[in-house]
């Protein structure tokens, strides 16, 4: 039981969470929901990187006096990489929301079918 959970089950759950992203981007009609699916995909990637940095018996990566050695701390490198990725995701969210506002202003609609119909006219 514990081996089953510890081996691949968490990775599988994170992969299912990741697959919500492409599913929403392809099959959802509303553009705001496509954007939301993209954000869900980003969170799944962040959780995957954090899961790769785990270590049994390790504490959080802040130095405790008297506790020396790389075995006692979780790997800090994925945390540092993901920290910047989260903030960049916020910036890209701002850019894509402004693009959505421009589409709404120009065509008056955000549903995909109606948008394609109005673009082809």
């Amino acid at each position: 039981m514990k081996e089953f959970f510890a081996e691949y089950f968490v990775y599988w759950l994170i992969f299912i969470l990741f697959m919500l992203g492409p599913y929403g981007i392809i099959f959802k009609k509303n553009l705001v929901k496509k954007l939301m699916a993209m954000n869900i995909m980003q969170v799944a990637v962040i959780l995957f990187f954090l899961a790769l940095g785990q270590k049994a018996g390790g504490t959080i990566p802040i130095n405790v006096p008297g506790l020396v050695g790389a075995v006692n701390y979780i790997n800090p490198l994925p945390h540092a990489l993901m920290l910047t990725a989260i903030v960049v995701s916020l910036a890209t969210l701002g850019v894509s929301l402004s693009l959505l506002l421009l589409i709404q202003k120009h065509y008056g609609v955000l549903e995909e079918d109606e948008l394609l119909r109005r673009m082809n006219q």
Partner: protein, 81 residues
């Protein structure tokens, strides 16, 4: 052992809130479910042992929810004209 069960439980909750954020009829309800999703992401990051990432996700979740709501309000105002 407790940590990994908590992790699996939180990931199931995240899948639930993510699916309901994608499949909600109303866009405002969808945005609120997305903010619940980002809060659960904070808890999952804490369970995975990274307080820095959890702190950043908490702060950024607030700001991104605000952006979504503000943009939705402006979209509705534009479409009603």
């Amino acid at each position: 052992m407790l940590g990994i069960f908590l992790l699996v439980f939180l990931l199931f909750l995240m899948m639930t809130t993510g699916i309901s954020a994608l499949f909600a009829r109303d866009l405002l309800a969808s945005i609120i479910m997305f903010s619940a999703f980002s809060f659960l992401a904070v808890l999952t990051s804490l369970t995975l042992g990274s307080p820095d990432v959890a702190f950043t996700e908490a702060v950024i979740g607030v700001v991104s929810t605000t952006f979504f709501v503000v943009a939705l309000e402006r979209m509705k105002r534009g479409s009603s004209k």
